[in-house]
C-alpha cells in the first residue's frame, strides 16, 4: 500500500492549490481525484471571474479570502504562466431600489477592504461598455477574468513538478482511522495510507466529512447553466456585466473570457443530483432572454456550446447558505483538514484557502521546508498569442510550431504535443482540449479532433478502443474499422 504524509481528496482548484502550497514542504503528497483530470467539476464549470470581494458578508471567510486572493492574482498568474486580465466589472442598475442595493453593496465592499469601488452614471457606463443597457452601475475596477481550466491545471502541474502525485479515477469509498492515528483510504482503485487528510472534495465534501466522522453538514448543489458565444462577440464586451445582485444569487450575467469569447449565464437551480450536467432547452432560452436585457448582443448564430456547473453550498437547517468552513476537528478526526461549502468565490480564494490549510497543519505538525520548491511554472507557449517575429523564432526552433492542427484557435502541433506530455499524465481528449484550446473554437473540433485523437494514440501508445473522451468509460471509438 502506498504511504503518504498527506492525501488530498479532490483535484479541483482548491485541492490543487493545497497540493501546490504543501509542496513547499518536505512531504509525500498524494491527490485522489475521481475524474480523469483536474477541474472536471465545479472548478472548471463557472464564469471564470476573479471576484473583488464586495458580495460577501463583512467578516466572513468568503470576504476575507476573496479580497486576499484578488490582490495577489497578478503575481500568481505571472508566476504560474496563466492568462489573467484585470478587466474591472460593472453591476448595472436602473431603478431607485437598484441604486439602494448598489450603495449597500459598495458599503459592504469597502468594509471588506475592496479598493476602488465607485458608483458611475450612465454616461461613464456606456464609455466603459458601449453595448450595455442600463442607467448607472457600481464599478469594481479590481475584478478580473481568468481561464479556470488553465489556472487549476497550472496549480496542479506546479504541485506535480514539486513532487505531489496525482491519482485519477480514484473515488473514495471509505476512510478508516488506524490505531497509530494514520488513515487508510479505500478507493475505487486501491487503498492509500496517510498521516493527514485534506477534504477538498467540493460537491463530495459532505460525504467525505461523514466518512471522517464529522457529521451533520448539509450540502446542496446550485446548478447554473451557461452558453458560450463565438469569439467575434468578444470585442463587444470589455468586462463582466452583472445585474444588481440579490442576497443569494449574482444573477444572469455576461462575462468575457481571456480568450475572447463571451459566456452567458448562469441561472441557479437547487439540485440534489450532483452528476447531471445537462443543459435543458428552457435554460438556454431563459439565459439568452435575461442577459439580452443587459447586453443585447446575443445572437443564436453565435452559439458555440453550452455547459453547466454545480456549486456546493453548505446550508443550515433552514436552507440559509453558510460561510466557507476550514477546520481541524481534533476531537473527532485529528490530522484531517476539513473544507466544507467551498463554492464561489473558491476560484479567487483557492490559494488563500490553501495557506489556511497549511497553517492549520503547521500548528499541529512540524513542516520542514522543501529546499527544491520551484514556485514558477511555465505553460506551453501559445503560438496564436505571439508576435510574427516570435512565431518565426518558435518555428525555427521547432517546426511543429508551424503545423497548425486547430484552425479556429490556431493551435499548433508543438502545443498539442507539450499538452499530451503533461506532468499530470492526463491523456483524455478533453484534457488536451482544456490545456491547448484545440477543439474549443467555432467548429468544435470538426477539423482538428481526429488529428488530436491520432496524436494522443501515437504519442502515448493508446489503442483506439481505450482512448477516452473525458470521463471513465467515455470511449471515443469501439475499435478499428479493419484489422
Amino acid at each position: 500500500m502506498q504511504q503518504f504524509d498527506v492525501i488530498i481528496v479532490g483535484g479541483g482548484v482548491v485541492g490543487s492549490a493545497v497540493a501546490r502550497e504543501l509542496s513547499r514542504y518536505k512531504l509525500q503528497i498524494g491527490v485522489l481525484e475521481k475524474n480523469m483530470d483536474v477541474c472536471n467539476e465545479t472548478s472548471g464549470r463557472n464564469s471564470g471571474v476573479v471576484h473583488g470581494g464586495f458580495a460577501y458578508d463583512t467578516g466572513s471567510l468568503k470576504a476575507q479570502l476573496c479580497v486576499e486572493g484578488n490582490q495577489e492574482f497578478d503575481r500568481v498568474s505571472e508566476e504560474l504562466d496563466v492568462p489573467f486580465r484585470r478587466t474591472g466589472k460593472v453591476l448595472v442598475g436602473n431603478t431607485e431600489e437598484d441604486m439602494k442595493n448598489l450603495e449597500k453593496t459598495m458599503l459592504q465592499g469597502k468594509r471588506n477592504g475592496v479598493r476602488g469601488l465607485t458608483l458611475i452614471d450612465g454616461e461613464r457606463l456606456h464609455e466603459l461598455v458601449p453595448a450595455v443597457r442600463g442607467e448607472f452601475a457600481l464599478l469594481s475596477p479590481n475584478s478580473g477574468i481568468v481561464d479556470p481550466f488553465r489556472y487549476t491545471i497550472a496549480l496542479a502541474e506546479s504541485a506535480a513538478v514539486n513532487g505531489a502525485s496525482y491519482f485519477f479515477g480514484r473515488e473514495v469509498n471509505s476512510i478508516r482511522r488506524n490505531p497509530d492515528q494514520s488513515y487508510t483510504i479505500s478507493t475505487t482503485d486501491g487503498e492509500f495510507r496517510t498521516r493527514w487528510i485534506v477534504n477538498s472534495a467540493g460537491l463530495g465534501c459532505g460525504s467525505i466529512s461523514d466518512m471522517l466522522g464529522i457529521t451533520g453538514y448539509r450540502i446542496i448543489g446550485s446548478k447554473g447553466d451557461y452558453i458560450i458565444l463565438d469569439k467575434k462577440t468578444g470585442p463587444l464586451l470589455p468586462m463582466p456585466v452583472y445585474p444588481v445582485p440579490s442576497n443569494t444569487y449574482m444573477g444572469v450575467h455576461v462575462t468575457p473570457t481571456v480568450d475572447g469569447n463571451v459566456i452567458v449565464g448562469p441561472n441557479a437551480e437547487n439540485v440534489t443530483n450532483f452528476t447531471y450536467y445537462g443543459v435543458p432547452q428552457k435554460s438556454i432560452d431563459f439565459l439568452a432572454e435575461n442577459a439580452s436585457s443587459l447586453w443585447p448582443c446575443i445572437r443564436r448564430s453565435d452559439y458555440i456550446r453550452n455547459y453547466s456547473g454545480i456549486l456546493p453550498k453548505w446550508v443550515d437547517e433552514n436552507g440559509a447558505i453558510q460561510d466557507f468552513r476550514i477546520e481541524v476537528r481534533d476531537d473527532i478526526a485529528p490530522h484531517a483538514v476539513n473544507l466544507v461549502g467551498i463554492e464561489s468565490p473558491g476560484l479567487t480564494a483557492a490559494l488563500p484557502i490553501a495557506r489556511r490549510v497549511v497553517s492549520l497543519m503547521a500548528e499541529r505538525a512540524d513542516l520542514k521546508p522543501n529546499p527544491d520548491f520551484q514556485p514558477r511554472r511555465k505553460g506551453p507557449e501559445r503560438f496564436a498569442a505571439q508576435s510574427e517575429e516570435r512565431k518565426q523564432e518558435l518555428i525555427g526552433r521547432d517546426p511543429d510550431y508551424g503545423d497548425v492542427i486547430c484552425r479556429c484557435e490556431e493551435v499548433t502541433k508543438a502545443e498539442i504535443l507539450q499538452a499530451i506530455h503533461n506532468p499530470l499524465g492526463v491523456c483524455t481528449l478533453t484534457g488536451i482540449k482544456y490545456r491547448t484550446r484545440s477543439m474549443m473554437g467555432r467548429c468544435q473540433g470538426g477539423y482538428c479532433q481526429m488529428r488530436v485523437a491520432e496524436l494522443i494514440e501515437q504519442e502515448l501508445g493508446i489503442p483506439p478502443e481505450a482512448l477516452l473522451y473525458e470521463r471513465k468509460n467515455s470511449r471515443l471509438f469501439t475499435g478499428k474499422v479493419r484489422g
Partner: protein, 411 residues
C-alpha cells in the same frame, strides 16, 4: 514578400478547378495554399461514388474525382503549398501563411477564396442534454471511419437528413453498425432524393420528418436520445417524446461556409448564404478578392463547385490581365419562395448562370427572372426542393444594362 498573380486559398475541388482553368487562360503565376498534407479537400474522405455525373458524365468516387484535378494541376505544373495554413488576409491582398518552414507573406494581384465549409455542431444548435462521448458530426465520423480507420460506434441514430448524414447511415450499416433511424426537424428531407433512396430506403432505415432530438443521455458514453415531434414552428410538441437507445449520435445539421479569413479582409457576407456577396464575376466587395465553391454558398453536388470555379477563372484571368472588370451596379432580389441567389449583384453587361435554392418544397412552379418588371428568363419545374440547387442561365442578349433583377417562384 513574394508577389503572385493569383493566390488560391484552399486546395479542394473549387481551388483546384479554378487553378487549372486559370492556367488554360494563360495565367500561370498561381499559388494554391492548402492546410492539409495533401490537396483534394473533403473529397478525400468521400469514398462513396456518384461524383462527376455532370462534370465528367461518369460516376466517380470522391478521391477519383479529386485525382482528375490533381493530375491536371500536376500537368500544368501549378504550385501547391500543402501543410500550409493561412493565418491572415488583408484587404490589400497580403496573405500570411504558416507551415513547418516558417511564416511566409505573399502579395497577390487577385486572391481566390476557396476554403469550403464546416459543419454545424451540437453547440451551435444548442441541443439540450448531457455531454457524453459518442456525439459526432457526420463529416467527423466519416473522417474517422474512412481516413483514420476508427469505428465510431455500434448503434447509431442520425439527426438531420443532410446528404453526408444519410451517406454515413449507409456507411455505418455497411461496417456492421445498426442505424435505427434518421430524424429531420423540417417536414421535408434536407438531402438529395437519390441519397434517400440509396442510403436509407435500400437499407430499411426509417426517416422521421418533423422530429428532432430533445435530450441526450449518458454520462460517459452516449446511452440514448429522446426524440420529439415538432410543430409548424419547429417547436417540440410535449407528450410526443420517444426514447431511442444508441451509443452514437451522428449530426448532419447543416454546413456553414468557412469565411473567417474573408471577414478579416472586410468581405461583405450575405446573411442567407453565409458566403460573400458576389457578382457574376464571383467578385466580392473587396477589390481583387474572388470566391467560389462551398465557401461562397453550399452546393449540393461537387460538379457544380467545379463548374462555378471554372467560370470564376474567366473573370479572374480577365482581372489579372486588364486590372479591372465591368462595374456591378445592379442588384438581384428574390421573393420569399427563394432562399437566396448567387450572384447577388451583376453588371448587366454579361450573361451569367443564376444559382438559387427554394426556401420550401414547391410543386408545379415557374421560376422567373425579371428585369424592369419584364420576365427575361423562366424555368418551369414539376417539383422544386430546397435540397437541390437550381441553375438558370441568363443570356447577355436578354439583359439590359439598367434595372435591378428580381427572382420569383410562381406556384
Amino acid at each position: 514578400m513574394e508577389q503572385k498573380d493569383v493566390i488560391i486559398i484552399g486546395g479542394g475541388p473549387a481551388g483546384l478547378a479554378a487553378a487549372v482553368e486559370l492556367c488554360r487562360r494563360g495565367v500561370r503565376d498561381i499559388l494554391i495554399l492548402e492546410r492539409e498534407e495533401t490537396a483534394g479537400g473533403i473529397l478525400k474522405q468521400c469514398i462513396h461514388d456518384g461524383f462527376g455525373l455532370t462534370r465528367f458524365h461518369t460516376t466517380l468516387s470522391g478521391p477519383e474525382y479529386a485525382q482528375r484535378f490533381l493530375d491536371e494541376t500536376e500537368k500544368e505544373n501549378i504550385q501547391i503549398l500543402t501543410g500550409t495554413s493561412v493565418l491572415s488576409l488583408t484587404p490589400d491582398r497580403v496573405v500570411t501563411a504558416v507551415g513547418r518552414g516558417g511564416l511566409k507573406h505573399f502579395k497577390a494581384k487577385a486572391v481566390v477564396l476557396a476554403m469550403g465549409c464546416r459543419e454545424r455542431t451540437r453547440g451551435a444548435l444548442a441541443i439540450p442534454g448531457e455531454r457524453p462521448a459518442g456525439v459526432f458530426t457526420a463529416g467527423v465520423a466519416q473522417s474517422y471511419i474512412n481516413l483514420h480507420n476508427r469505428m465510431v460506434g455500434k448503434r447509431a441514430v442520425i439527426l438531420g437528413s443532410g446528404d453526408i448524414g444519410m451517406i454515413m447511415a449507409r456507411r455505418l450499416t455497411l461496417e456492421g453498425a445498426e442505424v435505427s433511424a434518421v430524424f429531420e426537424i423540417q417536414p421535408y428531407p434536407s438531402g438529395l432524393p437519390r441519397n434517400i433512396h440509396q442510403c436509407l430506403e435500400d437499407y430499411g432505415i426509417p426517416l422521421y420528418l418533423s422530429h428532432t432530438v430533445t435530450d441526450i443521455h449518458g454520462k460517459a458514453r452516449l446511452t440514448g436520445v429522446t426524440v420529439s415531434q415538432v410543430d409548424e414552428k419547429l417547436k417540440p410538441v410535449p407528450g410526443t417524446e420517444q426514447d431511442f437507445s444508441c451509443d452514437t449520435l451522428i449530426l448532419s445539421v447543416g454546413l456553414i461556409p468557412e469565411n473567417e479569413l474573408s471577414m478579416q479582409a472586410g468581405v461583405q457576407i450575405d446573411p442567407r448564404t453565409k458566403g460573400a456577396v458576389v457578382d457574376e464575376f464571383c467578385r466580392t466587395s473587396v477589390e481583387g478578392i474572388f470566391a467560389a465553391g462551398n465557401v461562397l454558398h453550399v452546393h449540393d453536388l461537387v460538379d457544380f463547385v467545379s463548374l462555378e470555379a471554372e467560370r470564376l477563372a474567366d473573370s479572374v484571368a480577365e482581372y489579372v490581365k486588364s486590372g479591372s472588370l465591368p462595374e456591378n451596379r445592379l442588384s438581384i432580389s428574390a421573393d420569399k419562395n427563394i432562399n437566396h441567389t448567387v450572384p447577388q449583384k451583376i453588371s448587366g453587361k454579361n450573361g451569367f448562370t443564376l444559382s438559387l435554392r427554394v426556401s420550401r418544397p414547391l410543386a408545379g412552379c415557374e421560376i422567373q427572372v425579371l428585369q424592369n418588371g419584364k420576365v427575361i428568363q423562366s424555368k418551369k419545374m414539376k417539383k422544386a426542393i430546397p435540397a437541390e440547387m437550381i441553375q438558370i442561365p441568363v443570356s447577355r442578349e436578354s439583359l439590359s444594362g439598367n434595372g435591378n433583377l428580381e427572382v420569383r417562384a410562381l406556384c
